[in-house]
């Protein structure tokens, strides 16, 4: 069992990446991910991490270099946020379609304009269709554990994995974190062996043209691979529990057993929301909390099971999908519900944009309003919460 040490989460993440014996790091700095790539540079230059550190000249170059390195059979890492993620956008689709096991940490940050360095989920929500596996961390321990998990899953499924942490509110806080023992890491994340890679001894061609006669089949194959990755994700979490005792689920529930009204949120604000649940429970209200740990592949069955018999569900989005039928998560939740027999009323709040604080009081108020929704359907598909009129 490792020791719990207080560490800045970015530093802990970099340490976990180093423990995974990454081969190539392509790094471009952007707030709030800078501490991750800085610490990795330190580790490399001090000889503590044997890896090639490519200080690329843009995020697009970062993902391009990761694609090249991964195709050549190396374990890769990069990290970005907001504008950087949007800049590498075309490569995100390419990385997953070319089935490359890249691991990326996204320090979720609001997307311009207006330019902002503070935390929300608008960056990651823009890449829902890109075919990546996505997990969300709420605290430092989860962030670190999801890194180990990411490498194992990426390399077994040959799909890229993004670990999402809230910029500043998670990346820059100091938390008690326990890194896995190196021998356990080596067991959980074995050396990368790729059957098909760029190797003069066995030449392959990667990136051929997808004519109309084959593109559909290629996309179907990719879709099935992402679907099938669910099993590997679950099996890896089970294996992780055996090694560390820490258990991860695709949809984490809190006090959902007898809940009539539930709140759904992703990322570190979930811990604040838990306090609101506790308060309301003391007042006798049967409320519960749901968090998506796994965002892609969308855990439809786990979600439908987790909502139990709630009469109303508040989905708290951290990003706007302008003039759609909800925030990004709201849209997907409603779509998932529609494909089941359950019909709780759904209220969609968009809160915490660009680092605006969402307090326990705010969550309480949202839950009270959700109670009202049981009898009276909300007039709007989504509401930007807390805006000053």
């Amino acid at each position: 069992m490792g020791k719990r040490i207080a560490k800045e989460v970015s530093i802990a993440i970099a340490d976990a990446v180093a423990q995974c014996k990454v081969d190539v790091i392509a790094a471009y700095p952007i707030t709030p991910q800078t501490h991750i790539v800085e610490h990795l540079a330190e580790l490399v230059n001090n000889g503590e991490l044997d890896a090639e550190y490519i200080p690329v000249e843009s995020e697009h170059a970062a993902m391009s270099a990761c694609i090249g390195a991964s195709a050549a059979g190396a374990r890769t890492f990069t990290s970005t946020a907001a504008q950087g993620l949007l800049l590498m956008y075309e490569n995100l689709f390419i990385a997953s379609a070319l089935r490359l096991p890249i691991v990326m940490v996204i320090a979720n940050r609001a997307v311009s304009a207006p330019i902002s360095i503070w935390n929300d989920h608008s960056d990651v929500m823009s890449m829902r269709d890109a075919g990546w596996i996505h997990t969300f961390a709420e605290n430092g321990q989860e962030a670190v554990d999801l890194i180990y998990h990411a490498y194992r899953v990426a390399e077994k499924t040959l799909l890229p994995v993004a670990v999402n942490i809230d910029g500043f509110t998670l990346s820059h806080v100091v938390e008690p974190v326990e890194l896995m023992d190196q021998e356990l890491v080596d067991k959980f994340v074995p050396p990368l062996k790729m059957k098909y890679k760029l190797d003069p001894k066995k030449p392959i061609s990667i990136g051929a043209i997808g004519l109309p006669e084959i593109y559909t089949e290629a996309k179907k194959a990719q879709d099935e691979a992402l679907k099938a990755s669910y099993r590997t994700i679950m099996a890896s979490w089970r294996e992780f529990e055996k090694l560390t005792g820490r258990r991860y689920q695709p949809v984490e529930t809190y006090q959902m057993e007898d809940a009539e009204v539930a709140l759904m949120i992703m990322g570190s604000l979930a811990e604040t929301a838990m306090n609101a649940i506790n308060r309301l429970r003391k007042k006798g209200k049967k409320v519960g909390l749901l968090r998506f740990r796994l965002w892609r592949p969308f855990p439809h069955r786990d979600f439908i099971r987790a909502i139990g018999k709630v009469k109303a569900l508040a989905v708290v989005d951290r990003a706007v999908s302008h003039c759609s039928t909800g925030g990004p998560v709201g849209i997907e939740v409603r779509s998932s519900l529609y494909q089941s027999n359950k019909r709780p009323k759904v209220v969609n709040f968009i809160a915490g944009l660009s680092g605006r604080d969402v307090t326990v009081d705010d969550f309480e108020e949202m839950l009270e309003r959700t109670y009202e929704a049981i009898s009276k359907r909300p007039k709007v598909p989504y509401e930007i919460y807390g805006v000053k009129e």
């Binding site: 070319l98 098909y196 392959i204 006669e213 084959i214 089949e217 194959a221 691979a225």
Partner: protein
């Protein structure tokens, strides 16, 4: 309206649609593109190999006698070989209809 059908089952594709058959474009015939065909006059040929070097379609191979023979399966009839033969030993001849 002809229905577009997939070339191969999605299950048979390699992950990422990789191709592990290097150089298999060799199976594809480009020889039916041409209107003119190169014809070699062995008397004039000095076996310098410029036709072999300059052919963009890799049509020339050396035979046992050292003359370079054109592979009509690929030859697109561009005429670069004829234009660059130092001895004018290659002539472009119109293909019969």
């Amino acid at each position: 309206m002809p229905k577009h059908e997939g070339l191969v089952s999605w299950k048979k594709l390699l992950p990422g649609m990789y191709l592990d058959t290097p150089g298999n474009s060799r199976e594809f015939k480009t020889g039916d593109w041409r209107a003119y065909r190169p014809v070699l006059d062995k008397e004039k040929c000095i076996k310098c190999g410029m036709c072999y070097i300059f052919c963009p379609d890799l049509c020339y191979t050396k035979d046992e006698e050292g003359y370079y023979q054109v592979d009509l399966y690929y030859c697109k009839g561009c005429g670069i070989c004829a234009a660059n033969c130092p001895k004018g030993a290659i002539t472009m001849v119109l293909e019969e209809a």
